[in-house]
């Protein structure tokens, strides 16, 4: 399992390196406005082809770029019902606090668990390679966090059940 993680992350890192070439671009549709083109999709010539990187059937990453913004959507591995619930709750917790993360999107794209929106303003304020490191690190940490949460739920369940059933001995 771990053997496919490295190439998956390297592939995402290289794709992000190429995709994160963003520049300030004023809106063509509305005067005096500056909008992330990847969200608007109003001018097809300003969008690049989206890239879908799949690790297996349940884990994938969609990277959509445009001239001034980039959207990364992740689908995290969910093996059973418990992981499904844990992932949903954990990622919803993070997404609700999207302001603190700056690059996080408040709602994930349809069909994915979590999305990032990086604009040219983020690239101006922060360094590009650090942003990419953050995203890749996030992906690694998510898997660890969900496993830890699952283990702690199972442990707690076992403890509670043991205590409860002691009264029947």
């Amino acid at each position: 399992m771990a053997s496919t993680l490295r190439p998956y992350l390297t592939c995402i890192r290289n794709t992000l390196d190429a995709a994160m070439c963003l520049q300030n671009f004023p809106c063509q549709e509305v005067e005096r406005h500056n909008k992330p083109e990847v969200e608007l999709k109003s001018s097809p010539e300003l969008l690049l082809n989206p890239v879908l990187i799949c690790r297996n059937e349940s884990e994938k990453c969609l990277i959509e770029t445009s001239i001034n913004s980039l959207r990364i959507s992740l689908k995290v591995k969910q093996a059973d019902e418990l992981e499904n619930i844990l992932t949903k709750k954990f990622l919803r917790f993070l997404s609700m606090r999207a302001e603190a993360f700056q690059v996080l999107r408040r709602k994930p794209v349809q069909g994915y668990d979590i999305s990032f929106l990086i604009t040219n303003y983020h690239c101006e304020e922060m360094q590009k390679h650090k942003l990419i490191d953050f995203i890749v690190q996030f992906m690694e940490d998510i898997d660890k966090e969900i496993s830890e949460l699952k283990m702690s739920v199972n442990t707690r369940g076992r403890l509670v059940a043991t205590e409860f059933l002691k009264q029947f001995i």
Binding site: P26, E31, R32, E45, L46, D133
Partner: protein, 375 residues
């Protein structure tokens, strides 16, 4: 080293322009103002702040002989600034644009300037003596998307423009009363001379060579296009390079071009005797790329391999150094302006980038490039 000076003038610089004697530089620090700095005894002093625009200033150009600054901004306006006594006085130019202005350049004779806009048009502005104001004429048709960059041919009539629809177009901007009539060149205003459809992706940074014979522009697909003998039967070449795309180019001689962009380091391209262009090298590259691992020694890298892949983040791995290539600039370089000219060759130039640094380069120290230049 090719770098002669590095100055941190702002947090982020959008564009810059030098005065004729190269003692003052006008730049936009990513807001709606223009800051003019003068080099006083090794320190940069902010001499003037030009505040008239409402939104980000996307282009500044400083004319050499008439000492006027033209600025174009995302608020659809453009101002021509004249130095009167010691104040810069703005004159509004009615561009008649309904979208942002993206780039601006004075013509070689400085009687006209061209503005590319998000309204898919190019405006050519000239000074009308009778009414004492700047008038604009729009080249309305032909463009399918925003015009990202404009460049004047040395003959003061032709203008090349690149756009986000991937095409480079050359127009004639002959204006009766402003330009002298040329019997060889009977063209109307706004006439499309050549349309170059070489790039599948957005195009930026178009420039003419000093003689006007060759045109160079970059595409976002990491290709730089060179077009020789621009006219009815142009000869186009493209040079694909390995890394990230470029944003702007500069002809330092008839046969050498420096490109700058997302790699944060200038790239040198040159044409050999047969006229075939190719990539020569980077200017001032960092020597050992893999030694820049943030956690230091090879010891920790070896440990990382021992513990298996699911250990620390990507920065420990020798193959994954996602660091910038550039030694000097830390973020994308977005413009390159010549500093000194010797005949038709440029030995010194300056670059500014999103990291807010103004870096001055000198080719005198690069022996191998000098030999190619002299050709």
């Amino acid at each position: 080293m090719a770098v002669t000076a590095v100055h941190q003038l702002a947090q982020c610089i959008t564009c810059h322009a030098w005065s004729a004697d190269r003692s003052m530089v006008a730049l936009c620090p990513n807001n709606s103002e223009v800051h003019i700095y003068r080099l006083v005894e090794d320190k940069w002093e902010k001499m003037h702040v030009l505040q008239k625009h409402d939104q980000l200033i996307s282009g500044i150009d400083w004319s050499a002989r008439s000492n006027k600054i033209v600025t174009a901004s995302h608020d659809r306006n453009s101002y021509v600034w004249n130095l009167e006594r010691s104040e810069w006085v703005p004159t509004l130019v009615i561009l008649r644009l309904n979208r942002a202005a993206l780039c601006v350049q004075w013509s070689p004779k400085e009687n006209k300037f061209a503005v590319g806009s998000g309204a898919k048009t190019v405006c050519i502005c000239y000074y009308e003596q009778e009414n004492n104001w700047w008038v604009s004429k729009l080249i309305r048709k032909r463009h399918d998307s925003s015009v990202t960059c404009v460049s004047w041919h040395p003959d003061n009539i032709l203008v090349a423009s690149t756009s986000t629809d991937g095409k480079c177009r050359i127009f004639s901007t002959f204006i009766k009363g402003v330009d002298a009539k040329d019997p060889k060149n009977e063209s109307r205003f706004g006439e499309l001379i050549v349309q170059l459809d070489l790039s599948p992706s957005w195009t930026f940074g178009v420039k003419w060579s000093p003689s006007g014979n060759t045109l160079a522009y970059v595409g976002h697909n990491s290709v730089i296009y060179f077009v020789d003998d621009v006219g009815p039967s142009p000869l186009a070449q493209n040079v694909v390079f390995r890394d990230l795309p470029l944003r702007d180019v500069l002809f330092v001689s008839e046969k050498m071009v420096i490109g700058v962009g997302y790699d944060c380091i200038p790239m040198v391209f040159a044409a050999d005797e047969r006229g075939i262009w190719s990539f020569i090298r980077y200017l001032g590259e960092r020597k050992a790329v893999s030694s820049g691992s943030r956690y230091g020694s090879q010891f920790s890298e070896a440990f990382g391999k021992f513990y298996g892949q699911a250990k620390q983040g990507g920065s420990n791995d020798a193959s994954e150094t996602s660091r910038t290539r550039g030694v000097v600039h830390e973020n994308c370089i977005n413009s390159i302006i010549p500093l000194s000219r010797q005949g038709t060759q440029i030995r010194r130039f300056s670059t500014t980038g999103l990291d807010g640094k103004l870096v001055m380069w000198d080719l005198e120290t690069e022996q191998d490039l000098l030999e190619l230049l002299v050709h």
